[in-house]
């Protein structure tokens, strides 16, 4: 069976969406792990869901990054367990140092909730391996702090090493300022670590995994994880 774990923080509001998506796609319900727990059960992958952990107190993801459970998430991630951070989960990954950069306030200073087009530039990660490089998909975003920022050297490093997983783009895949909903540097919507096992993204793939939800473009994020797990089993 698939052993996925979804971390639940006070203020998480996409944890059940992620749970249902994983269960529908893999056939196995993930474990819901409370932020106050000391240890994540042995997992094939871990998801940090979206929401407003700790009410976004201090900065989005800042409190969650120092929660009790994150010590073990960080340890397991460094030992190789794949981790997916969605929206607030992405912010937690950057705040905890598992991914470089930071998510700043949207340049419009407004909360944005709508579908956006993404170009998958990083197809060699645990969570995107079933997408084609350059493929354009449509996935919802819902955030006020998704404006990805990193210093010049870090941006160059993640671009050079192919760690940019997805960029905001036009429907035909062009990277333009108009297609950038939040002002993110280089239109970055998601990144990975060097190994490709830790991925953070602002868009919500769990909100678009079956036709009843309006599309299936997010489904392959979880199918990619399945493929990765299966391959690891040999």
């Amino acid at each position: 069976m698939i052993r996925a774990s979804v971390i639940v923080f006070p203020g998480s509001n996409c944890d059940r969406d992620v749970k249902v998506a994983i269960e529908r796609i893999t056939g196995h319900a993930p474990r819901m792990v409370w932020h106050g727990d000391a240890e994540v059960p042995a997992s094939d992958f871990i998801v940090l869901p979206g929401g407003f952990s700790y009410g976004d107190y201090l900065r989005c993801g800042a409190m969650a990054a120092h929660s009790r459970i994150m010590k073990d998430v960080i340890a397991k991630a460094k030992a190789g367990t794949p981790v997916l951070g969605i929206c607030n989960g992405f912010q937690i990954l950057t705040e905890s140092g598992l991914l470089p950069g930071a998510l700043m306030r949207n340049r419009s200073l407004k909360f944005i909730c709508r579908d956006v087009h993404l170009r998958i530039d990083g197809h060699e990660t645990f969570f995107t391996s079933t997408y084609r490089c350059g493929e354009v998909v449509k996935v919802p975003i819902a955030h006020a702090e998704g404006n990805y920022f990193a210093d010049e050297h870090t941006i160059a490093r993640i671009e050079g090493e192919g760690q940019v997983v997805a960029r905001y783009c036009t429907p035909d895949g062009r990277i333009t300022d108009d297609a950038n909903p939040n002002g993110a540097m280089n239109n970055i919507a998601g990144i990975s670590d060097e190994s490709g096992r830790i991925v953070g993204m602002m868009p919500h793939p769990e909100r678009l995994y079956e036709n009843a939800l309006g599309g299936t473009d997010g489904r392959r994020v979880f199918e990619s994880a399945l493929v990765g797990i299966a391959a690891a089993m040999g």
Partner: protein, 208 residues
């Protein structure tokens, strides 16, 4: 990646049916372990190993201003824009040099030699552009060196058909990855490992 995907997909049906239980944590082993990593990580860890004749301790690279260093690399590349299956692999030699008197880590690099069959390598693709040297930047802490061609530029500022190559060379391991963009689209991806060459060679000639 494709073979890894096939292997993964082959096991997928039984996995989803719950008949292929995972007896132990699927957490990949730490570096150095013999067990294979997950499929998705395979492309990123499938770089060819450094040449076995590389001397011990030769992998730590520290550039000094005004002193050229040659590195011999083995790499694999895929020109995504044309045909992802059309990967090439082979050897190439690059020359790196920090600018004399520069304190900001700036310098130049250029291809010295490349296998003829390795058409997707950065040395082959940038051979003409960087024949006289393209810019490099050594990170302040020295952890990595970024090689640019033709010059540093934001991806979002690229015009249609404009090419930009950016490679990141880890100074501790001499592993590198490179991404080439054309008009903001990913054109080619490359990864490999290098070793320092013992003796400097004259800074002449062009990529062969």
């Amino acid at each position: 990646m494709r073979s890894a995907l096939r292997a993964g997909l082959a096991a997928l049906l039984s996995l989803m049916a719950g008949s292929a239980g995972i007896a132990a944590d699927a957490t990949p082993p730490p570096p150095g372990s013999a067990a294979p990593p997950p499929a998705a990580a395979a492309p990123r860890s499938s770089q060819p190993p450094a040449s076995p004749d590389a001397p011990a301790g030769a992998s730590a690279l520290k550039l000094e201003p005004g002193k050229a260093v040659d590195i011999a690399c083995e790499s694999k590349s895929v020109v995504v824009a044309t045909n992802a299956a059309n990967a090439t692999s082979g050897a190439m030699t690059l020359r790196l040099e920090l600018t004399a008197g520069a304190s900001d880590g700036a310098g130049t690099w250029r291809p010295v030699a490349v296998d003829q069959s390795h058409a997707g390598s950065l040395a082959a693709m940038q051979g003409k552009v960087c024949e006289q040297g393209c810019p490099l930047v050594q990170q302040a802490g020295g952890a990595d060196i970024q090689l640019w061609a033709p010059a540093p530029k934001a991806i979002t500022a690229l015009q249609a058909d404009e090419l930009l190559m950016l490679a990141v060379l880890k100074t501790a391991t001499l592993d590198f990855k490179a991404s080439t963009f054309r008009g903001q689209q990913v054109e080619a991806l490359e990864s490999g490992s290098c070793r320092m060459l013992e003796a400097e060679t004259p800074a002449t000639g062009s990529p062969k």
